[in-house]
């Protein structure tokens, strides 16, 4: 629902980092998005298409999104398990309810690639 806003934050972070690293054009960005984050990959792609017009990106820049399943870890018995529909935080072994979320909340820029102004020597 707020993917445009998330994309704006992403572009701001990338723009700062690119300046810092003397990168002129970005051609590839990789995001990691957990299933518990409220961001939908399709909507993120759509938002990226809008922001791609920005000078920061090459016109054929690609956004790669790696989705992460929601996984919990039981604090009673230590079992790690997938959390069904983001809803059932119940340990399948001991039925424990004290469950830590170990994956699924990710929403971060993993890495990006870009070109600096220098031409390759060879």
């Amino acid at each position: 629902m707020h993917e445009m806003g998330l994309m704006a934050s992403m572009v701001e972070l990338l723009s700062e980092s690119a300046r810092h690293n003397q990168i002129e054009k970005i051609n590839r960005v990789k995001l990691v998005v957990g299933k518990m984050s409220m961001a939908l990959p399709d909507a993120l792609q759509l938002a990226f298409d809008v922001y791609k017009a920005d000078d920061l990106f090459r016109s054929d820049a690609v956004l790669e999104i790696e989705e992460r399943e929601t996984r919990g870890k039981c604090r009673s018995c230590g079992r790690c398990f997938p959390v069904l529909d983001n809803v059932l935080f119940v340990c399948p072994d001991c039925r424990g309810l004290d469950v830590e979320v170990i994956s699924g909340r990710e929403l971060y820029i993993d890495h990006y690639e870009g070109e600096d102004g220098n031409v390759d020597d060879d």
Binding site: L13, A39, D85, Y112, E113
Partner: protein, 228 residues
């Protein structure tokens, strides 16, 4: 030349930083910050209208009103004699930490014990944005149906407190309290639940009393900070 940069940075890194600033500001000034979230029409403003009488008798209270547009809600709060700051997001579906930080600057916060933030009516986006709050309250109304809990699990997993509003309408809805409690047992077993009818002022005092208790507990724990 192609350069690869391992950034490993959360997209909401800036929001987290500002939320930390808010948390520190509140700690320093002995302020308890509450983030109240629900879908539109669940009754956030009505609950606040009815609860403010109890709250402001015990605590110096103010409200930050988030709305996409208009000052109607802030006007309703001000009518209760409580200071209210209106935040208009102009279309944005949630409040972020920066907006709350700006709103705080408009309040005499050193003179306050409790600030209630009424978030934008939406069960999706506000769940993602840390506002530096001490307590997250989600309001659900019986007319929305109990399936909202499993449909918006992140919101209900992260909240500390659930206020079920419009309980006076229970007989006219398919809302199942049993299913709700069952779903919450798997999703958020520590959730405190309050049953209220804000309109009829049922259960409102109990909720307000619990808030007052939490604020006083927190003041006792952090009481040494900010005083010399």
């Amino acid at each position: 030349m192609t350069i690869k940069v391992e950034l490993q940075t959360p997209i909401l890194a800036r929001n987290e930083e500002t939320a930390e600033e808010i948390r520190y500001l509140c700690l320093e000034n002995n302020i308890f910050l509450v983030n109240i979230m629900s879908s539109p029409g669940a009754g956030k403003t009505t609950l606040l209208e009815k609860a403010l009488g109890y709250l402001s008798r015990e605590l110096r209270t103010a409200v930050i009103e988030g709305d996409i547009a208009t000052t109607r809600d802030a006007d309703r709060i001000s009518a209760q004699g409580v200071e209210a700051v209106q935040l208009n997001t102009h279309g944005a579906c949630h409040l972020d930490a920066r907006m709350v930080y700006q709103a705080l600057q408009k309040l005499e916060y050193s003179q306050l014990d409790l600030i209630l933030i009424e978030n934008i009516g939406n069960l999706v986006c506000p769940a993602e944005f840390n506002l530096g709050e001490d307590l997250r309250v989600v309001l659900l109304s019986t007319t929305e149906g109990n399936d909202k809990i499993v449909k918006y699990p992140v919101m209900f997993r992260d909240a500390h407190m659930l206020v079920l509003n419009k309980v006076d309408l229970l007989p006219y809805t398919d809302f199942s309290k049993e299913e709700m409690e069952q779903d919450l047992a798997g999703l958020n077993p520590r959730m405190e639940i309050f049953y209220v009818s804000a309109r009829l002022e049922q259960g409102v005092k109990e909720w307000a009393d619990r808030l007052i208790e939490l604020v006083k507990q927190s003041l006792k724990e952090h009481g040494m900070l900010g005083t010399s």
